[in-house]
């Protein structure tokens, strides 16, 4: 029997494969095109480690999600890369004497892309929706008591109590303003209409794969439209993200310490910057669950017992900075000296345990398979065992981790936390009602310092923030290990500037490399 048919079939398949590869290499696929186009300032393609859940500004989020909203929505204020607030939709802003009334003056020449004019009523519609929309950042406007339209270009925001972070919030998620007509239309979650530098091109958008934004021809500030088109590709797998940037599919990508080395060897520009701190949250500072933790010497011993340098080298591939303070670099609370407040010193840790008069004890901490690096849990377990503390790791589902921590199920836990401004950080981990203060522990000094940060003058806020930082470090409320570096890469044709306290740069910070 002859098998000419076999040969014919193989030939057809081979020809098909070649034709297929021809299709790709001839540029019909979008990836090579985007990379090349960026040289002319045409298209910027960004790999995003998160996918947007909703374009509704009431559901807007910070961090990785900001870059999805910035193309289509202007915010009231704009945060420069270094965190400085500059005008955007609001040209001026001013507080009253006790910082409870904020008056915003709006631009009078802005129109949403559906033709609706931007005015104070539109801003009020958005600000009223945000805290009641049950979005992930809704609580950032919790202090807002009332939003009043004074005239078409003036909005007055009255607060229940001063919120030192409010202006920052209005520069990110809480400040994105959508067309009230579009909000009323009910399709804002998938059909975003704002006044931003770009509009969503739905014909070139594939949900969960690619979001294409094209230049808004009537935009009021052309200097923010560096590219004709911005494409955001959600690539949730870090290896896939590495492949995308190395193969030239995207111009910029946030990677991880584990994929950093491969990207660094591929003629890409690397940016390293901190946004988080990682370490132990010692929740049970009053000893309700584990009595030994009520003793400051035990908490200090825990800090001295952790070999932070080794953990950073093993878990974070050495990309980051060892620290002992929970407040971030670039904030008013940061103090250089506190970086090394608790160096690795097991002998001193043992001495403190002895002085505290506590024997060996155990503590249960949560771990999540796939999220907690085995080297991390092994290291923490060994370091604490060396001073007589046995860690019982309890497996929890990834979806239950935060919930179990904030509900007070654990006396201690390792975690990675965002480092915002002192007021944001205080409300995250320190105040009695802070998210990560499940046992609501506090003391008079902390209360006083927090009050100064909230109610004090700018100078008093700075001083109080530093004092609060010194105090919680001295009292060992936490055992910070290090600030891991975010590792962002851009190709040779693209440049950017990392955004302070944000996982990814703002879209305004990208430009073609010169």
């Amino acid at each position: 029997m002859k098998f000419r048919s076999v040969a014919t079939a193989v030939a057809i398949l081979t020809a098909s494969a070649l034709a297929l590869s021809g299709c790709a290499s001839s540029g019909t696929g979008p990836e090579p095109t985007s990379s090349e186009a960026s040289a002319s300032g045409g298209t910027l393609t960004i790999g995003a480690l998160a996918d947007i859940k909703s374009f509704d500004p009431a559901q807007a989020h910070i961090g990785h999600y900001v870059q999805y909203y910035q193309p289509v929505y202007d915010s009231l204020l704009r945060r420069e890369a270094d965190g400085t607030l500059v005008p955007m939709l609001a040209t001026k802003w001013a507080y009253n004497d006790d910082n409870t009334v904020l008056t915003l003056t709006l631009r009078d020449d802005v129109t949403f892309t559906d033709g609706t004019p931007l005015d104070a009523a539109a801003v009020k519609t958005n600000l009223d929706r945000f805290p009641t929309g049950n979005g992930p950042q809704a609580s950032t406007l919790a202090q807002v008591a009332e939003v009043v339209v004074e005239d078409p270009t003036t909005v007055v925001i009255t607060l229940n109590a001063p919120d030192p972070a409010l202006l920052d919030y209005l520069g990110t998620a809480a400040g994105f303003i959508a067309s009230p007509t579009a909000i009323e239309g009910g399709a804002i979650a998938t059909d975003p209409i704002g006044s931003g530098p770009y509009t969503l091109d739905k014909t070139a958008t594939v949900a969960a794969s690619q979001y294409t934004f094209v230049k808004n021809p009537d935009y009021w500030d052309p200097s923010l439209q560096v590219y004709d088109t911005i494409v955001l590709k959600p690539i949730l797998d870090t290896t896939a993200m590495l492949n995308a940037i190395v193969s030239g599919q995207v111009n910029a990508a946030l990677l991880t310490p584990k994929t950093q080395a491969q990207a660094a060897a591929a003629n890409l520009t690397e940016y390293q910057y901190p946004t988080d701190w990682q370490g132990l949250l010692i929740f049970d500072r009053d000893g309700a669950m584990v009595p030994e933790l009520a003793d400051v010497k035990v908490r200090q011993a825990i800090n001295y017992a952790i070999d932070k340098d080794t953990l950073l080298a093993q878990v974070g591939k050495g990309l980051g900075t060892v620290t002992s303070q929970p407040f971030g670099e670039g904030t008013d609370a940061f103090e250089k000296d506190l970086e090394s407040a608790y160096p690795y010193d097991p002998a001193k840790a043992k001495k403190l345990m002895k002085e505290a008069g506590v024997g060996e004890f155990s503590v249960t901490m949560p771990t999540v398979s796939g999220f907690f690096d085995p080297a991390l849990t092994a290291g923490i377990g060994q370091n604490l065992a060396d001073i007589g503390i046995t860690v019982n790791w309890e497996n929890v589902a990834g979806t239950d981790l935060v919930s179990s921590m904030v509900q007070g199920k654990y006396a201690m836990s390792w975690f990675s936390l965002f480092q915002g401004s002192p007021w944001v950080a205080a409300n995250q981990i320190i105040t009695p009602n802070a998210t990560y203060n499940p046992f609501h522990t506090t003391d008079p000094k902390v209360d006083e310092l927090v009050k100064q940060i909230q109610f004090g003058s700018e100078e008093e806020q700075t001083t109080a923030a530093k004092s609060l930082n010194e105090y919680v470090v001295d009292q060992a409320w936490f055992a910070p290990f290090y600030r891991p570096s975010q590792v962002l890469f851009t190709d040779a044709k693209t440049t950017t500037e990392p955004q302070l306290q944000q996982a990814v740069p703002s879209i305004y910070s990208y430009a073609p490399a010169k």
Partner: protein
């Protein structure tokens, strides 16, 4: 035949009901903090409780199940807890990606495996030995390893295909072909190898049957015996393997979709499981079961057409 189809459809509905019910109740015992995960870490306890009420999580389990089932019977799968988008829309948006990869892989596997399996069974000798060795090797290498090698060579080094992403067919046909080429290749290598082995064994088995010997003794041309009788006899085995491959791929494609960042059903299932997005996950389960039932029905019909004895059974 009509009664056969009816019986299979009824059994399919029973399977769908049992699988979806079990999944619903099993999910209840897994992640429980979905409201906080939706709202984020800064949400207050009052907001979390409000969200739980909004999602119906404060209702008894049985009442939630009946509510879900009632909606599904009317074609309403609800909305995603995380995106507020209709579940059916999310699934229909992802289905083309997964089906285009899996169906194309099955077609390629069917053609190549038949050619290679028949060649090995008829020719035997070195072709057969080579097929055996290559098949074992190809079957032994995990799909994700194949995928990573393909990306490294064809996407990163040679830049022939895109490393990640999906282009819909109606947007750009060439882009679509390019975007699914590597995922298909990654899935097809193992599928061709294992299916070719089954086809080879089935053809050898049929070739040794008495009726084939009789046909030969009557002087029928080898080509006629092969195409009219042997392939017809061996086809049911091949079809069964392909249907199993298809069903296996619906699960295995999760890894492939992750590696190539494809917005498919597998990735949707993984995401909704990780987040605890129960409406979406239940929708994915129901759709997958429906697809499996349809595929099994079609294979049964095809086997019955090829082999009338199977219809009786």
């Amino acid at each position: 035949m009509v009664s056969f189809i009816f019986r299979r459809l009824v059994s399919g509905v029973v399977v769908l009901f049992v699988v979806s019910t079990l999944t619903f109740f099993l999910l209840y015992f897994s992640a429980t903090s979905v409201a906080r995960n939706i709202l984020g870490e800064s949400a207050t306890q009052a907001q979390v409780q409000l969200k739980e009420t909004e999602l119906g999580l404060d209702q008894p389990l049985v009442s939630r199940y009946l509510s879900w089932l009632g909606g599904v019977v009317q074609g309403d799968f609800g909305v995603s807890w995380f995106t507020s988008q209709p579940v059916v829309g999310s699934i229909l948006g992802r289905l083309p990606t997964t089906l285009s990869i899996v169906l194309a892989t099955i077609v390629i596997a069917a053609v190549l495996a038949t050619l290679l399996g028949v060649a090995a069974a008829v020719r035997r000798g070195w072709i057969d030995r080579l097929l055996q060795i290559v098949s074992i090797g190809a079957s032994a290498v995990p799909q994700f390893v194949v995928a990573i090698v393909l990306v490294t060579v064809l996407a990163i080094q040679l830049r022939i295909f895109p490393a990640t992403g999906y282009v819909p067919m109606n947007q750009d046909f060439g882009g679509w072909l390019a975007s699914i080429a590597l995922p298909i290749l990654a899935l097809a290598i193992g599928a061709v190898a294992s299916t070719a082995q089954q086809v080879r064994s089935a053809v050898i088995n049929v070739l040794s049957r008495d009726y084939v010997r009789t046909l030969r003794s009557r002087g029928l041309a080898p080509r006629e015996i092969l195409f009219r009788h042997v392939l017809r006899g061996a086809a049911p085995a091949g079809l069964t393997v392909l249907s199993l491959q298809f069903i296996g791929m619906l699960g295995g494609v999760v890894v492939i979709e992750q590696i190539f960042a494809l917005p498919g059903m597998g990735f949707l299932a993984l995401q909704s499981t990780t987040q605890g997005d129960m409406p979406v996950l239940m929708g994915v389960v129901v759709y997958i079961v429906i697809i499996v039932v349809i595929v099994n029905l079609l294979v049964d019909l095809a086997v019955g057409w090829l082999n009338p004895k199977a219809r009786v059974s």
